[in-house]
Point group: C2
Chain length 362, copies 2
Amino acid sequence: MPDSPTGRRQPSGSASDSLRPRRDARSMPSLEEVAHRAGVSRSAASRALNNAPHVSPLKREAILKAAEELGYVPNATARALATNKVGSVVLVVPNEEPGFFADPFFSQIVVGIATALEKSDLVLTLMLASSGEGSDRLKRLLRSRSADGVMVLATRKDDPLNDIIESTDLPVVFCGRTLGREPRWYVDADNRGGARLAAEHLLGAGRRRIASIVGPMDSQASVARYQGFVDAVAAVGLPTDWIEEADFTYDDGARAMTTLLDRHPDLDAVFVGSDNMAAAALRVLKARERSVPDDVMVVGFDDLAVAQQAEPSLTTVSQPIRSLGHEMALMLMRVIDGESPSPIILPTHLVVRESAPSAERG
Amino acid sequence: MPDSPTGRRQPSGSASDSLRPRRDARSMPSLEEVAHRAGVSRSAASRALNNAPHVSPLKREAILKAAEELGYVPNATARALATNKVGSVVLVVPNEEPGFFADPFFSQIVVGIATALEKSDLVLTLMLASSGEGSDRLKRLLRSRSADGVMVLATRKDDPLNDIIESTDLPVVFCGRTLGREPRWYVDADNRGGARLAAEHLLGAGRRRIASIVGPMDSQASVARYQGFVDAVAAVGLPTDWIEEADFTYDDGARAMTTLLDRHPDLDAVFVGSDNMAAAALRVLKARERSVPDDVMVVGFDDLAVAQQAEPSLTTVSQPIRSLGHEMALMLMRVIDGESPSPIILPTHLVVRESAPSAERG
DNA sequence: ATGAAAGCGCTAACAC
DNA sequence: GTGTTAGCGCTTTCAT
């Protein structure tokens, strides 16, 4: 057998080899080839291509030129092995979350992360951690050193993911928090403050019989939003127990609104823990022939597209989802670089629309 | 300096080293250690752990046990370098798409892919290919051999991405197609057939003045949907040019509906190229005091959550977004394995709801 | 400033 | 069936 170009022993070619779209080293120049073409050693080439010192300007020039001409791109795997840096970070998404981390949330976070990563040369790998089998994969992924760091979207209190994540020695940054845990690094939205603004807005509009549809109480964000609600409502001595829990989905939001209406027919405002559920609430209120905002004011949370498109449009607490992703990625990069950044709480603010205008109408 | 445990020359420790959360080989057992503990050679250990032949049951047992006890997980990077298989596939998402590949679409595709990948040990890496700088990254990513294959969400006709993708020698599978290109491997929904069903439904309900809001005509899916519309409408000799193009966003959908209404005040049905735009159309029709479905029937496309939640709920063409992702990933895995699967067109079907019921009312 | 050479942790060809 | 060994393509130390 003739020597292979790379000098490696070749497997005896099987019949099937020719069938495969073999994308071999053929067209992938190696450092060695660049060095050879530039007439220098591999180490020199390596140094030049990494902007390292100890290369004469002349050679550096030649090497860069050679690399350019050959279309050289370093083999990421080999580099990773040599440097013990993988060049990728993983985003862990607790799967099967009914609605909280549903569509718009997820995509926006990803976009935020991607824009942050764009400047680095880190690549984003995604891990949808469904329960059961999925967590085994995650465990292996983390132990197999195939990422330099981990980002995690907020988990529920008893998610088995929590322990898996906690047991890795990779840097981990959270988006949101988990009840009963205080991660070292996280970014979060000011859920409590935002919810307080919402409730104060309702109070400011003169409403005094305020109910709330809260998200699942094993979610830290839901609890924080409820606390914000309590902050405002308790401060003026009103009851804080006109509440109903729902699982962040549209359907369960509708159910909760119905329940509240049955229990407190005289309610004149409702603060809802997510826009999706708020949209459902609007629907129920309409069916029950309560006019919004005249009879009942509604404030949501998130400021998704649905808030603008709802009828009437939804007053809601806006949280900067993309920024959350962006900041999370930036923070992770800093941690990977050995820094120890402080947690970040991003501000939320009220967006006033038709479902709860600023001044009482009529 | 004392020998390092791994025998590698150590860099002289700098001051900053101690600051960093060094996650060193310390707790990461290597194959060598497993082999040693089991009292066999590295190759034996490797064979056993990969279920390869030529290992006596006894040793195999011992090796597996040792690995278990040490919590051994192979170093993915090293394995990748040795096998020339990376163990990951990349999903390329054309970024800045106004609405077509917006929120729900993107997440659902990803979920479909993730479930398909779960059984393999491939990992998903994400590449949001914004224009400009982003495409450079993509080029490098593809050339640096950091993935075993590529999945691409349908691009627009003149997207610079097209050329980049075409120039890679990695296996590529598309979701959807691109105008003027016929990829070797792709999955797609039966857009044309679904649109035809929609139009036929309208005709079957007795409507004869049918308009259509079509998506951007540089998107293959939009064109296919328009063709399906034409298939049905032209067959009965009705005009097929009551159409207005919109960019898949809610706002532009609203604008298009307004335009159509101005141009053809007597229209009695409209087929809309996406649910988002259809929701906007409903809104406009309501504002214009056209009753849906009595005055104007509306059929959408996609069957997103918004279709059920709209008021009236939206008759729409359902396309299996998750399956699209799932099949795309399965197909890619087959291509990576050297097979050459045929393209797949997944069926679409009509979901009849209030905005265009089956029988004329009244 | 430069190049030779020793690895990174794993797989696979080869000889026994 | 088993161990030895030569790489995968890159980085980095060390000697020059």
